[in-house]
């Protein structure tokens, strides 16, 4: 299993090379790994459904107890059908959908495959941390796929919004995973299910994990990222934002359901948020004019429905949930692909502009009809099986169950209504609208949309198969004696009545849509999640600007003062408290130290007294060389060599910068008034550092064992007679690599800052100097002392 995940990711890495030459070939190649994974999983479906899970474990960091664990069980099988199956279809569809060679196509092919790999890893993961890793990988893929080139402000904002909301939830979820894993003593999901922990920790973990699941699966009030993410190309919306990624939250709730059976912090939020989302999402879908937005709100609504079902923790609800999970993946993928084909052929997906397409594209219309029928819950579709089972799951649990069923029926009414609206909007003949000119789509667009639509029919008619698929997942909750089954005909019972009611009322609602929209427009807008999100982001940005503005004042003396004060306060006070002057202090132990020390002291005084910047720099250099001399006297030629070299380079750098600064130090009035505090701070800082140097070097009583060990090992172990070098490149080579990485980052950062500020200034000056363009000739001769002129003027 891990091999399949790895192959997905590796092929995705290599794919840009293909995509640069031929995007259609890239999509075709990208479809191969998911197809192979699907075949492999299907070949094992028989044993998996009978309860034999395939398990694979790869140690990652065994010392930390981290490992990648994969487990193919019934739920994973169900999700793989969606992830890999629809993945293949979407990738094939993309061959026909994307403009060959376009930037979107070049970016999307590898990213879609990488996403498929991450999603595949997510559904197979049996370890909480593995789940988290793949969970965030899908988020990142989604960010890149929605953002695309990032040229339009809308795509950037949508991509960022999805990223912000889902990673916020993801972080809470990670916390929940840690709480759960620590409480259970293991991060293996299958082991946690066998022995769930109890108590307050479980409740905390439930709440935190739900935050992640609810945000990822776009439950209200976190739903707003999903409709805005529809700026992505349609195949991406079909795959990520309908069939697979948004199901990750549902999947997680389904996966961890057995752990949290009966925990109110688990089932109450899923029920309340789910029902609310289902109704409000459906209501909003009814009023959209953009077919894709309509489907997006429909997805939000259906995700709410799924959340209700998988969160309950009963066999009946889980059975309905699994069936609906499968059904929704199928019909929603079909409908997105159909809308994409309409958009591709007609150039618009606005309900008000499309007319008469049903006659021009009968095949597409039939496909859409099949999918919409499944969505509306008409027999003999898969959606009908799921919806009947869902209505049945809440009957017989008393008055509360009836209330839930009532809300579910209300949500279904809206579902039927927007299904009808979708069909009518895309394919219907509208009086007063000019028939849209469009050619029927080719097979590449048609076939991938048709496959899941017909699968919905097959799985509906062949209900025993569906029952086995869904039942084998639901079995984790214990089937019980009279376990319900998925059937097309239950007899004349309440669920059938509910279905009939929903369809009838839904069709009426579609017919009366104009009046309903008018009602909606009259309703006061109480809460707008989108505006709430925007306000929160604005507040965050304002706070960030405020904090930065107050802490980063841009004054070097202030920064220095803060650093020195911190040194005085934290290590300095502790140092004074524990100060213990060693008794055996000598003034010097080598006569050469005396002239060197005198030199350093004189240079230090001269640096303070210097009036010119250049003098100050040179004198500071003398201090550095003096210290280097002390190193030589004390027998550290390596350190001394490095000290001399760094000192030289520092001086060169100083001189470079000094060219752009006034020759003399300038003293403002403010500087004069702060003179004494500055003096006191500098003296105190110097004294504390000097004291620290004395105390620290006296704290060592005898050569530590590690030094002796290094010296003994350097010749034999590292092949170096220079022990300093042996430490640098062998014993502590890891430190060296870390240090040079820091150096590389710092150097690149400084260079970028300098170059960026130059670029800024140049741009400003070219804008301002348009009038004096004649003076801008490259290579204009500078006057001999122009350099100095400028220094004075600055």
């Amino acid at each position: 299993m891990s091999a399949f995940v790895l192959v997905h990711l590796l092929v995705a890495l290599a794919l840009p090379a293909v995509a640069r030459r031929n995007t259609r070939a890239a999509f075709a190649i990208a479809a191969v790994p998911p197809a192979a994974a699907l075949t492999w999983v299907l070949a094992r479906s028989g044993s998996v459904l009978s309860g034999d899970a395939v398990v694979e474990q790869i140690p990652w960091a065994p010392l930390l107890g981290l490992e990648f664990t994969f487990r193919l069980d019934a739920l994973a099988l169900l999700m793989t059908l969606l992830v890999a199956g629809i993945g293949v279809l979407v990738l094939v569809y993309s061959i026909g959908y994307f403009q060959p060679g376009s930037g979107d196509a070049r970016r999307s092919a590898p990213l879609l495959l990488a996403f498929a790999g991450a999603m595949f890893g997510l559904v197979l993961a049996d370890d909480l941390l593995t789940v988290y890793v793949f969970w965030e990988l899908t988020t990142i893929c989604s960010f890149l796929l929605v953002g695309q080139a990032g040229i339009s402000r809308e795509s950037r904002r949508s991509a960022l919004q999805a990223l912000m909301i889902t990673t916020m939830g993801g972080l809470a979820m990670l916390l929940g995973f840690v709480v759960l894993g620590e409480a259970a003593g293991t991060y293996r999901i299958s082991e946690i299910i066998d022995e769930p922990p109890g108590g307050a920790q479980l409740a905390v973990a439930a709440t935190l994990i739900l935050v992640g699941a609810l945000t990822k699966s776009a439950q209200m009030p976190f739903h707003n990222w999903l409709p805005t993410a529809m700026v992505a190309p349609t195949p991406i919306s079909a795959y990520l934002h309908a069939a697979s990624m948004v199901k990750a939250g549902i999947f997680l709730v389904a996966r961890l359901g057995p752990v949290f059976v009966g925990v109110p912090q688990w089932w109450v939020p899923t029920l309340v948020f789910g029902l609310f989302t289902m109704v409000v999402g459906g209501w909003r879908a009814l009023h959209e004019t953009d077919l894709k937005k309509l489907l997006a709100y429909g997805t939000v609504s259906q995700l709410g429905f799924l959340m209700v079902l998988v969160g309950q923790g009963t066999y009946a609800a889980a059975l309905a949930g699994a069936a609906m999970l499968l059904a929704h993946g199928m019909f929603k993928a079909t409908l997105f692909l159909v809308v994409g084909a309409v958009d591709h052929q007609a150039g618009t997906r606005d309900v008000r502009e499309l007319s008469g397409l049903g006659r021009r594209m009968p095949a597409l219309a039939i496909i859409a009809l099949l999918a919409a029928a499944s969505m509306a819950g008409l027999p003999p579709m898969l959606g009908f099986l799921g919806k009947e089972a869902a209505f049945g799951a809440f009957l017989g649990t008393g008055g509360g169950g009836l209330l839930v069923d009532f809300v579910l029926v209300l949500g279904s009414v809206f579902t039927v209504a927007y299904s009808a609206r979708l069909l009518w909007g895309a394919f219907g003949d509208k009086p007063g609208v000019h028939p849209t000119a469009a050619k029927p789509p080719n097979a590449l667009l048609l076939v991938p949309a048709a496959v899941p639509a017909f699968a919905g029919v097959v799985l509906g008619v062949g209900y025993p198969l569906t029952d086995e698929l869904a039942g084998s997942y639901a079995a984790v909750f214990g089937a019980g004696a009279d376990a319900p089954h998925l059937e097309l005909w239950h007899g004349f019972e309440l669920p059938l009545l509910f279905s009939v009611l929903a369809v009838a009322a839904g069709l009426w609602a579609h017919a009366a849509r104009a009046r309903l929209t008018a009602v909606r427009n009259r309703l006061p807008k109480l809460l707008d999640a989108q505006r709430g999100y925007e306000r929160m982001m604005a507040l965050l940005e304002r706070t960030a600007v405020g904090v930065t503005g107050r802490t980063q004042v841009g004054s070097l003396p202030t920064y220095l003062a803060i650093i020195l004060l911190t040194v005085l306060a934290v290590p300095g006070s502790v140092l004074l408290y524990h100060a213990h002057i060693p008794d055996d202090m000598r003034l010097y132990h080598n006569l050469l130290q005396v002239p060197l020390a005198v030199l350093v002291i004189i240079a230090a005084i001269a640096a303070v007294r210097a009036k010119r910047r250049l003098t100050a720099v040179l004198v500071v250099g003398v201090i550095g060389y003096g210290i280097g001399g002390l190193f030589i006297v004390d027998g550290g030629p390596d350190v001394a060599l490095a000290q001399f070299l760094v000192e030289t380079l520092t001086m060169v750098a100083f001189v470079f910068v000094l060219r752009r600064l006034p020759t003399r130090f300038t003293k403002g009035d403010a500087a004069r008034s702060l003179r004494w505090p500055k003096l006191a701070l500098s003296v105190a800082g110097g004294v504390v550092i000097a004291l620290a140097a004395v105390l620290f070097s006296a704290a060592r009583q005898r050569p530590p064992d590690v030094s002796a060990d290094f010296i003994a090992q350097s010749e034999k172990g590292a092949g170096a007679t220079n022990v300093v070098n042996a430490i640098l490149v062998d014993f502590r080579a890891f430190d060296t690599v870390g240090e040079i990485s820091v150096l590389a980052v710092a150097a690149t950062g400084v260079a970028s800052l300098v170059l960026a500020s130059r670029f800024d200034r140049r741009r400003r000056s070219t804008r301002g100097a348009a009038a004096v363009a004649s003076a801008e000739k490259p290579g204009a001769v500078l006057s001999g002392n122009g350099h100095r002129h400028e220094e004075v003027q600055e």
């Binding site: 030629p637 390596d638 060599l641 490095a642 070299l645 760094v646 030289t648 380079l649 060169v652 750098a653 470079f656 910068v657 060219r659 752009r660 590292a718 092949g719 170096a720 007679t721 220079n722 300093v724 070098n725 042996a726 640098l728 490149v729 062998d730 080579a733 890891f734 060296t736 690599v737 040079i740 990485s741 150096l743 590389a744 150097a747 690149t748 400084v750 260079a751 300098v754 170059l755 130059r758 200034r761 140049r762 000056s765 301002g768 100097a769 004096v772 003076a775 801008e776 290579g779 204009a780 001769v781 500078l782 006057s783 001999g784 122009g786 350099h787 400028e790 003027q793």
Partner: protein, 190 residues
């Protein structure tokens, strides 16, 4: 070198040398490449010294790199010495020409050094050893005797390249960057 069109060699038979006080002013570019510093005072002694010393210092830096194992030196010191050779060259001859024979952009050099240093750390893993573990090879070479090769030298080479890159970056940004800035400001004020 005389085929290089960038170097304006004095033409034979040219008699008009101007006033005698300017006879010793350099007429050709002493350094292999680099931009002439328009109107700026050129220090002939410095240019000449840089031209002579530059390759020597580079060789010294490589010596330091390899000597580091048994004597003072190492990748860090060697890299700094080489970097200072470039600094000297910059001070004498101005900013480096993009069309120089070997033109490596500093970020590339930094990245190369870091990559070498990091990747060598992973090589021992492939032979079932610890991360960053070093091995010692001794090869007998005729005339030279036995040569000891310690794999950790590769890490040191990475450090060496990275340090050179950092110094060159410094020359590019604070050196020629500031210079170009000054020139731009001058033009803007003119």
């Amino acid at each position: 070198m005389t085929t290089d069109p960038r170097i304006t060699a004095p033409q034979n038979g040219q008699r008009n040398r101007g006033p005698w006080t300017g006879w010793d002013a350099p007429r050709e570019r002493w350094l292999l490449s680099g931009f002439p510093r328009d109107g700026r005072e050129r220090a002939m002694l410095l240019e000449l010294a840089a031209r002579i010393v530059f390759p020597t210092v580079l060789v010294l830096s490589i010596y330091l790199l390899f000597a580091g194992h048994d004597r003072a030196g190492g990748g860090f010191s060697g890299g700094l010495v080489a970097g200072q050779a470039f600094a000297l060259r910059y001070l004498a001859g101005g900013r480096m020409d993009d069309s120089a024979i070997i033109s490596l952009r500093p970020p590339v050099l930094i990245g190369l050094g870091l990559t070498i240093a990091t990747l060598t750390g992973f090589v021992p893993l492939m032979f079932g050893n610890e991360l960053l573990e070093s091995a010692i090879y001794k090869i007998g070479v005729p005339l030279l005797g036995q040569i000891k090769f310690v794999t950790s030298i590769v890490l040191d080479i990475g450090v060496y390249l990275l340090i050179i890159g950092v110094v060159l970056d410094l020359l590019r940004t604070l050196g020629s960057g500031v210079e170009a800035d000054a020139a731009a400001a001058e033009r803007g004020q003119a």
